[in-house]
Symmetry: C2
Subunit: 330 residues, 2 copies
């Protein structure tokens, strides 16, 4: 930096101001500094900058399962608006593991990230650490209890309810539910939507038909097998996430059950392979990319005005009917 200053015939402070678009610096000097900087191939040392400014220029996107296309799409959304605003974003994968999540939050803090977008691994994930250190955070997908924080989620309850009503209207009688971990708000909200749909249609709720799995392929597979052992077995499945839906479909195929004739299936959240499966899977579609851009927007807003009141965005879902829920009328 002092080389640049020397070459431009100014002081280091002016180099700093020029390169950071400080308004009070003479245009001609800005030009000279820019010139000298490019000639010398000068790149500001962001670590030193972070140390001094006490805030870096990268966002951390903390997600809970990098293998789920849901998060990859969200990531695209966050990234696109971050880059536009001069921030870079790096991904941290927690694997739904609280210890790993904690570790990454420490790293984020110690590395002085400018902000954090996080899909909490639990409804009690502690983000107070972040706030205590002045690092703004936005939660996505899942909620945290009793914490006042900017957030973006989808309307899981309505989406799930709509899906189950769709199955009932198609003529299925015994709809079962494969839900997710109780520590995730998405799982309980989707289960609640399932229950509400049954109630409103005047049916009772058989708790044996509700299985709690882990949002992973294998979990969905196991849960589906267990449900099929019941008497009478369900004739439709509402599966609360995309990965488990894939597992459930495999279970049905192995058991030789025809979908949608013998059993109907609706998943929650789309995936690249859902339309390719045989039969193509009906799902509740989430605006994943938009989830990311909204989160980024909230983070940007908070960065500009730390004292703004918190905002909670709720996005709508949409039922995408394909083949797996089209029961032939008797």
């Amino acid at each position: 930096m002092s080389d640049v200053a020397h070459r431009a015939g100014v002081s280091a402070a002016t180099v700093s101001r020029a390169l950071n678009n400080h308004p009070t610096v003479h245009p001609e000097l800005v030009e000279r500094v820019r010139q000298a900087a490019t000639e010398l191939g000068y790149q500001p040392n962001r670590v030193a900058r972070s140390l001094r400014r006490r805030a870096g220029s990268v966002w951390a996107l903390v997600i809970s399962d990098i293998e789920n296309p849901f998060f990859t799409s969200v990531a695209r959304g966050v990234e696109d608006v971050a880059l536009q605003s001069g921030y870079s974003v790096v991904l941290c994968n927690t694997d739904e593991n609280l210890a790993r999540e904690r570790r990454y939050l420490d790293v984020v803090l110690a590395e002085q990230a400018a902000g954090v977008v996080i899909a909490p691994a639990s409804d009690r994930t502690d983000i107070s650490l972040l706030r205590d250190h002045g690092v703004p955070a936005v939660t996505i997908d899942r909620r945290i209890h009793n914490v006042d924080v900017d957030s973006v989620v989808v309307d899981n309850f309505a989406g799930a309810k709509r899906a189950v009503i769709h199955l009932l209207e198609a003529g299925y009688e015994r709809v079962a539910c494969i839900s997710g971990p109780a520590k995730l708000t998405t799982a309980v909200e989707r289960r609640n939507g399932y229950v509400a749909a049954l109630r409103e249609s005047g049916r009772g709720v058989d708790r044996r038909y509700i299985r709690q799995a882990d949002y992973r392929v294998e979990g969905g597979y196991q849960a589906a097998l267990e449900l099929l052992e019941l008497t009478p077995p369900p004739d439709a499945l509402f599966v609360a996430n995309n990965l488990m839906a894939a597992g459930a479909m495999r279970a049905l195929r192995e058991r030789g059950l025809d979908v949608p004739e013998a059993i109907g299936v609706v998943g929650f959240d789309d995936s690249p392979w859902a339309p390719l499966m045989a039969p193509a899977l009906t799902i509740v579609e989430q605006p994943t990319y938009r989830l990311g851009t909204e989160a980024a927007r909230l983070l940007l807003r908070r960065l500009r005005d730390p004292s703004a009141s918190t905002e909670a965005v709720v996005l709508a879902t949409e039922l995408r009917v394909r083949e797996s829920s089209r029961r032939p009328r008797p």
Copy 2:
């Protein structure tokens, strides 16, 4: 830090030495310092540490398509061994875009990453920047031309050749190839394997049967449609990556072509949905997780001994025969 020093009745320098396991510090003092540190909840400021040490403790994993499960699995591998060695790893997604890749490399440099594992977006990606600044790098999946760097790849040539021989042995006559971007070594190596298999079997190579797509779903879809327009159309497809294979299968389904009866298909690289498709897709399996752990191993080695001679690891692939290539004998 000075608080800790004060509480432990020592100087800041001793705190630093104690916390970094410097051998020359008295065991009793180490204990006092540790005590004081935990009591005060002291966490070293990693930014300041990076500035001083001129190297941080996070690795950057620069990948080219976060939506491809191939990379997510590799990421797991890298992460698992990095965490074990006290490093954290963050992901950067380049989208096969050279400008974005360049930008992330600048960020990585400026943020003083301890090391980089990168799947280059092109065979001419410029790694020299990293080396000039003393940041060790390991390339994975794709090679870079004319650069001496630690690398981990799979044997694409052999894998592709094996796949095509499998199709020929199954009785298919006119095998076409959907390859990837010419700037990626994986694409040309897989295409070469395809050509070699045809040659060795005494067949000619019809260049019209070779299509170059972009490693994405839509590209595979389009390429397959084009191939089907040919006269005579191919009766088998070797598709050089998993995403394009999904697109190709969709094209075949739309055209009403039965797989594997009317046309056989083999993909390269597995995916969660490949076994779920109808018919289940035959693929060349890559040791993705191992790719990640090997890359991490090389990086660790280089970190410990910067002057070690470079190592190039080549991992074997394995043909996983499922349904899409099982041609019924006439």
